[in-house]
Amino acid sequence: MYLLVLGANSDTAHALAARFAQEERAHLYLASRDRELLEKRARDLALRHQVEVRPLVFDATDYASHAAFYAGLDPKPDGVALAFGYLGDQQEAQQNFGEAKKIIDVNFTGAVSILEIVAADFARRNHGFIIALSSVAGERGRQSNYIYGAAKGALTTYLSGLRHRLCPHQVRVMTVLPGFMATKMTEHLKLPGPLTASPEEAAGHIFRAYKKGRDVVYIKPLWRWIMMLIRNLPEFVFKRTKL
């Protein structure tokens, strides 16, 4: 199996790649922007798991490059894990549209651009699977991070449509909805321990869900219930909260 990992420098992606290498003996395409880190990680995974690992430079917002990037993969991947994302700064994004646009571009537009290319190939071959990391933040807009939430919400909607479209082609699309994650993206935040997953824990959850053929999976089951509550709070209550 060849697995293409987009945003491979994210901690969760790295842990997931390691999991696939270990359990499925998967060969890896690791795609990300930071070449120094990527090459180190590639060498590390190859040595640890004795699989083939190729580091590839990939920029989610350089849409024009995506077709050529995918065309260059030989052999074509059997699965794609999409893990790039950009949390950004809500305050900054309210004042500066550049930041807002970057949040939308990385989390949503970039994902659509590359996944459409992947989907076309998988549909033609009637083969493949897609695992994409969205976020619980996309389930309801909250004052503290609604621009990131909106982009992830759009991604979640997009993925459900893609799943619908690819189902007849035996191509599976799995939406992953992490809650709090202890990664470098959130290193500076104080997070509640019991609701926070480590990258390795998250990778384990995702991998097991993949084996079971799940469509939508929360990281830490408790989040399913929390989000059900948050989604269903009446607006007149919700808008008075500080969430």
Binding site: D34, E36, L37, K40, R43, D44, L47, R48, K184, E187
Partner: protein, 432 residues
């Protein structure tokens, strides 16, 4: 955030950062404030504590493995556990394995750790082919026993005070089985423990667990455990079952009665003599790793491990004096670990020297500190010294008498500007 070592004492409020690439590390180095590197936090005291701390765990990539000679090159944040996981199934093991595998390679080198085979195979530095060190001015130098030997001798055992250990090329040892042949000899007193240790000098691995509560005739009664790598067999390790201590146990859990009972049972558990029993490798080397967070056993205030080494000629008298004093104090060290050691190496602050080492755990209480001061005097009188990786309270004066190379170490730190960049709570206390 609040940070402690493995002993959970002392605790400091630290500003923490982490790094995954050399570029990130260099940016952190450029900031004016000094810092210390913190790996797995398994040094017991304050060696890896400071107001500013850099976590090295993300700097954990395996970079190369030369199968022909068994040399692995990895970043300093890789743990020994990871190396075992990756290389044991391929027939390689650590040349030197300390009592826990949950330490980073960088931490192991910085403490110049030893294992049950010190009398045969030395410290981990003797297995380091070369290492890359980041100096205060941002330069990276490769050092080994012949290239920049002065930096090498100061860095191995240097407690992270000479720079940031980046990549380490470590020689592994070929093995043919994931099992050990273990022999256990019951020794009714200290004299027997020494006699049996000496009689089995040729055993590759040798360590004795001492019942520290036994007194009088039975003082120093112990189990001497010897081991050899087993004959060719399966290399797939059997993952040991683990148990986690979920929270700090109440401080009274470990009292004289409970420890006495435990020790008596422990001592009588094996038959008089176990000869060549087949034991899984990880169980032999890392028995305590099976109890995750065992440091919580000692309660909320934490504990310390008092480990010293004495020259061979004064070992018996010194160990007997310390054991007697510890048993009389009633402060209840759980178990002690006694082990013979081989010759010292040339590293400036490396702990081992030819003779015997004894390690005792103590729960932190107000009465403990005067006792430890007393033990320091016994150790000094017998020409011994303490292990810095476990220390949290030694004074500068006593330290200098124990480590005569301190001056050379300090001068080197000044010359390279290390003293302005790399400091721990321990280095300030010890005045190096």
């Amino acid at each position: 955030m609040k940070l402690t070592g493995w002993g959970r004492y002392p605790e400091v409020e630290a500003r923490t950062h982490s790094f995954e690439t050399l570029g990130q590390l260099k940016r952190l180095l450029q900031e004016p404030e000094d810092f210390i590197i913190h790996g797995m936090g398994r040094s017991y005291g304050d060696s890896a504590l400071a107001e500013r701390v850099l976590f090295s765990r993300r700097f954990n990539k395996i970079l190369d493995f030369d199968e022909a000679v068994g040399v692995v090159t990895c970043e300093s944040g890789v743990t020994l556990e990871e190396l075992i996981q990756v290389f044991l199934p391929r027939g390689w093991f650590l040349g030197v394995a300390p009592g826990t595998k949950q330490v980073t390679v960088g931490g192991a080198v910085a403490a110049d750790v030893h294992g049950k085979n010190h009398h045969c195979h030395g410290c981990i530095s003797e297995w380091v082919v070369s290492l890359d060190l980041l100096l205060p001015d941002g330069r990276v130098v490769r050092t080994d026993a012949t290239e920049e030997p002065e930096l090498f001798r100061a860095t191995c055992g240097g407690m992270g005070l000479t720079g940031v250990i980046l990549n380490v090329a470590l020689r592994l040892a070929p093995i043919h089985s994931a099992s050990m042949r273990e022999t256990v000899i019951r020794c009714p007193n200290l004299e027997e423990a020494f006699r049996e240790s000496e009689a089995h000098r040729e055993a590759t691995y040798s360590v004795a667990w001492i019942d520290c509560l036994a007194r009088g005739e039975e003082l120093g009664r112990s189990l001497l455990m010897l081991g050899e790598h087993a004959e060719p067999g399966p290399l797939t390790p059997t993952p040991p079952r683990t148990l986690t201590i979920p929270f700090n146990l109440p401080a009274f859990t470990l009292n004289r009665a409970s420890i006495s009972l435990f020790n008596a049972l422990y001592y009588r558990r094996p038959p008089d003599r176990v000869e060549g029993r087949l034991t899984p490798l990880e169980e032999f080397f890392f028995p305590l790793d099976r109890i995750r967070q065992w440091n919580r056993l000692y309660g909320r205030r934490g504990f310390t491990q008092y480990q010293f080494v004495l020259p061979r000629e004064s070992s018996f008298a010194g160990v007997r004096a310390v054991l007697t004093r510890a048993a009389d104090s009633g402060l209840g060290s759980f178990l002690g670990v006694l082990k013979l050691m081989g010759p010292a190496n040339a590293n400036l602050l490396s702990f081992p020297r030819e003779g015997y080492t004894l390690a005792l755990d103590f729960k932190i209480t107000d009465r403990l500190f005067p006792l430890l001061d007393e033990l320091d005097r016994i150790v000094l009188d017998h020409g011994g010294r303490l292990y810095l990786a476990k220390d949290m309270r030694l004074t500068a004066e006593v330290f200098r008498r124990m480590y005569p190379a301190w001056e050379e170490f300090m001068q080197l730190r000044e010359r390279y500007g290390m003293a302005a960049k790399f400091n721990s709570r321990q280095s300030r206390r010890l005045g190096v």
